[in-house]
């Protein structure tokens, strides 16, 4: 199977779906890799916009309600807070408010996450805000394979689907195996990225790599770590996460978001409110997240904020103690 990067996997999904369905088109704040689609599909299906996120994110809603399947790419999520009303009050609620009269097939994709010394505004992980907002599906793929399969599912879904592509993963030159053909990964199904028996680590997006690195290191010390990647945060695969925790009896949740009301908070609450899983817990669930601070610029401070392998290892040792 050919090996490609995360970004190439996303572009493959776009090319294949745009060939498959002429109603699929792009609205973006800046072209970037999307420029590669113009030769085949033309500028009318790859539309660059003036800097006005509220207008073009809202336009994607109007186009979706008029029979098209827009993919809207503001670039970084941080740019799109200027369009937050269109996301919160329109995109997330419009299907429901109107009693399900019309479908709104929209893919809203943006980059999130830190690690590039881009400072507070450009290093955010605001996915928990979107989890609390009913009406949107939310996907955060951690590998090229997941990115392509989930992107295709998102494009074919008849609802607004938010996909946050971590900015480190999206820029990464690392490649891995991705089928050339068209395949889908169902939205709402978690993936066990590594089997283990002593402790469950639930890791989101870029944090999956840190969790796997920690698992490798600990295995040499006889500790068997199971790494579960939810892949989809809304809807979340509660069953898969709970049964892993029921098996291991211990859980560490790794999320780059600021800890308060993080996705990790939801995973923890979802685990402990289930009586069977609660009974199976041998130690308190442990969250590994960013502290409640805007992400700082200087690399030393930024690295302190973003969870890494060592934070995961330390947390695992604590829940095993």
């Amino acid at each position: 199977m050919p090996e490609i990067t995360y970004s190439q996997a996303v572009m493959q999904a776009f090319t294949q779906e745009m060939r498959r369905d002429e109603k699929v088109f792009h609205i973006c704040g800046g072209l970037g890799p999307l420029a590669g689609l113009i030769p085949e599909f033309g500028e009318s299906r790859v539309r660059v916009c003036p800097i006005s996120e509220d207008a073009y994110v809202g336009a994607s809603i109007g186009a979706a309600g008029s029979g098209f399947r827009p993919i809207v790419s503001p670039g970084m999520m941080t740019f799109a807070f200027t369009a937050m009303d269109q996301i919160v009050n329109q995109m997330a609620k419009i299907h429901y408010m109107f009693g399900g009269q019309s479908a709104f097939p929209i893919v809203f994709r943006a980059s999130t996450g830190g690690g590039r010394s881009a400072a507070a505004q450009h290093s955010q992980s605001p996915h928990p805000m979107f989890m609390n907002l009913a009406g949107l599906k939310l996907i955060m793929p951690s590998t090229p394979y997941d990115a392509k399969g989930l992107m295709i599912s998102a494009i074919r879904d008849n609802n607004p689907v938010v996909i946050f592509e971590d900015q480190i993963l999206a820029a990464s030159q690392e490649t891995s195996e991705v089928p050339e053909g068209d395949y889908t990964i169902p939205i709402g199904v978690a993936d066990v990225k590594r089997q283990g028996t002593d402790v469950t680590v639930v890791a989101i997006s870029k944090m999956v790599q840190q969790a796997l690195a920690a698992a490798d290191e600990l295995s040499s010390q006889g500790i068997s770590v199971e790494v579960v990647d939810p892949r989809t945060l809304v809807p979340m695969d509660k069953g898969a996460i709970r049964s892993s925790v029921q098996k291991t009896g211990r859980v560490v949740i790794v999320d780059e978001a600021c800890i308060t009301c993080s996705a990790a908070a939801e995973v923890s609450a979802m685990i402990t409110e289930d009586p069977t899983t609660f009974q199976a817990l041998k130690s308190p669930p442990r969250r590994v997240c960013a502290p409640d601070v805007p992400i700082p610029y200087s690399p030393i401070m930024e690295q302190f904020c973003i969870p890494d392998k060592n934070n995961v290892i330390q947390a695992i040792r604590e829940v095993l103690a």
């Binding site: 088109f25 009318s44 539309r47 916009c49 003036p50 006005s52 509220d54 207008a55 073009y56 994110v57 809202g58 336009a59 994607s60 809603i61 109007g62 186009a63 979706a64 309600g65 008029s66 029979g67 098209f68 827009p70 200027t82 009303d85 269109q86 009050n89 329109q90 419009i94 299907h95 429901y96 408010m97 109107f98 009693g99 399900g100 009269q101 019309s102 479908a103 709104f104 009913a134 009406g135 599906k137 008849n158 609802n159």
Partner: protein, 322 residues
Amino acid sequence: MTMEPEMLLDMYRRMVTIRTFDRRAVEEFHAGNIPGVVHAYIGEEAVAVGVCTNLRVDDRITSTHRGHGHTIAKGADVKLMMAELFGRTTGYCKGKGGSMHIADFGVGMLGANGIVGAGLPIATGAALAAQMDGNAGVAVCFFGDGASNEGTFHSSLNLASVWKLPIIFVCENNGWAVSVPASYGLSVDDVAVRGTSYNIPGVVVDGVEVLGVYEATREAVRRARAGEGPTLLEFKTHRWRSHAEQRGNPEDPRPQEARDSGPQHDPIAEFARRLTEQGLMSPSLLQQIHQEVEDSVTEAIEFAQSSPFPKPEDALADVFAP
């Protein structure tokens, strides 16, 4: 231009339908039969009807919190509208939306909106869809004078101009945003001058005289269908009632002159006078139309009242489309 008599009479009937629907909705609200909130369109009927008479059923509009008039003018069914206001399963939105969120995608009515200015980007997207479909369809965006101060007004008109979209931006300038006069909130006298900022024509038109509204819109729609791009139309109109109905029906907080000026500009009486002049309207025909409309709205209310309420757990349905 000569207009067919039945078309003129149909316009009149629609204006009366809007007036009657809102008069009765207001009554039902204060009788406690309609929950939530109702924003009456009474006094502004000429705008919705004059504009929408130019539209095909597959043209699309977006509306505001004051949306009943636009919805009726675009061809929606008053029974399903009233049922929605009553919060019944037979309503347009199965009782999930209410007055501020009525929509009828079947007739190209893409929804009222509780957020001021939020319809502008959505209408821009509907116009983009029309342009891509290539059937000379158009989109119309209704919004108020207050909305013209929101950022979405600016970004949407700029985007529509850059893409030369088939859209008509219709500003209903009734002089007020709740209790704030346009003379305070607006830094200019006419919203229409703002077309200059996007290189699109801006036109100020009397919104009381329905044929003038029709004419101005006709040219804007022609331009849009011909691929000549967006137009900004500003209709000066009058809101007769309080911003929104409130329990206990307190007095409209606007100064006396503002409250009085409404009824002094009655688009329906004005249009009746014209039609009579042209020999198209007679006292008996007028009486007949008003009666028929009254009956149809009465029927809508009865339909609403006799319709079932949703079940509590229906709240869980319709979050996502299949």
